[in-house]
């Protein structure tokens, strides 16, 4: 049975909002630093959160990101309302991208996001329904 979280915070993410894009992940990084988490773990969690947050901003209409900290782990859950991913296995492949030119001009869409989240996480779970949205659960063990 999962442990009761000691800390929980939820963030709203707006699709196409490039001004605030990434702010939730920076807040998460600040929270982890404040409670004294190991710096290499903070870096991994910040990078994975930021990739996930940017995916919502770039591809979905809106979404939420929730940080939960338990005595055993840090969990970041991201749920969006967006186009969904038809082929998750393909989307996980480094370099595969459906990004528009506009997204690439912003410096994103290199097709590294999902695989980089997985690389930085201790556990990574992804579900997607085409036409509805995508949810990610990213876990870092303490």
């Amino acid at each position: 049975m999962p442990s009761e979280p000691l800390f929980r915070q939820r963030f709203n993410i707006c699709g196409r909002d490039f001004v605030d894009a990434g702010k939730a992940s920076i807040t998460i990084k600040g929270i982890l630093r404040e409670i004294g988490i190991d710096s290499s773990l903070i870096r991994r969690a910040a990078i994975a959160s930021y990739e996930a947050e940017m995916n919502v901003v770039l591809y979905a209409s809106k979404g939420t990101m929730e940080l939960r900290i338990t005595p055993k782990d840090i969990r970041v859950t991201v749920e969006d309302e967006g186009p969904g991913i038809p082929d998750i296995e393909l989307a996980m492949r480094e370099g595969y991208s459906t990004a528009s030119d506009e997204i690439r001009e912003m410096g994103f869409g290199a097709g590294m996001g999902l695989s980089n989240i997985k690389k930085n996480a201790d556990a990574f779970d992804i579900h997607s329904v085409v036409g509805k949205g995508t949810s990610l659960e990213i876990t870092f063990r303490l």
């Binding site: 490039f18 990434g22 912003m106 410096g107 590294m112 690389k119």
Partner: protein, 132 residues
């Protein structure tokens, strides 16, 4: 490598962070795609980029980049400068293009990420293929 050395080697203009030029960077990374930065950059890095929007600075903060050098004479927009000031990230600008900027810094001893991992040190010593 001290940031003051980076400034001299690339003949940089300092956009913000003049008081932090005694700080050191341990590794260099040149990229215009922030996805690549997030996937490959090491901590305490110098990022060389042509991407001038606020996302480059936000990516730098997430990835623990000490300083950004904007290449090809590009200047960051105001939001990017304001965020860098707030977060203490040094911003420099050089008129040199990306390839030359990276090359000069590497020549002066600033390693790339793969060299820190040790995996490709041998590649530097390997002879060039005969076809070249």
């Amino acid at each position: 490598m001290k940031l003051e050395a980076v400034r001299k080697i690339l003949n940089c203009q300092v956009i913000t962070g003049d008081e932090k030029l005694e700080g050191e960077v341990g590794v260099g990374c040149g990229a215009d795609l922030m996805s690549d930065v997030l996937a490959f950059i090491k901590p305490n890095a110098l990022l060389l980029t042509g991407l001038t929007n606020v996302q480059a600075v936000r990516t730098a903060e997430i990835a623990e980049v000490i300083a950004i050098v904007y290449v090809r004479g590009k200047l960051p927009d105001k939001d990017a400068i304001d965020l860098a000031k707030e977060k203490g990230i040094v911003l420099l600008c050089t008129s040199l293009p990306m390839y030359e900027s990276c090359g000069r810094l590497h020549q002066h001893g600033l390693p790339g990420g793969s060299e820190l991992e040790g995996g490709r040190r041998d590649a530097k010593r390997a002879p060039l293929p005969a076809t070249l």
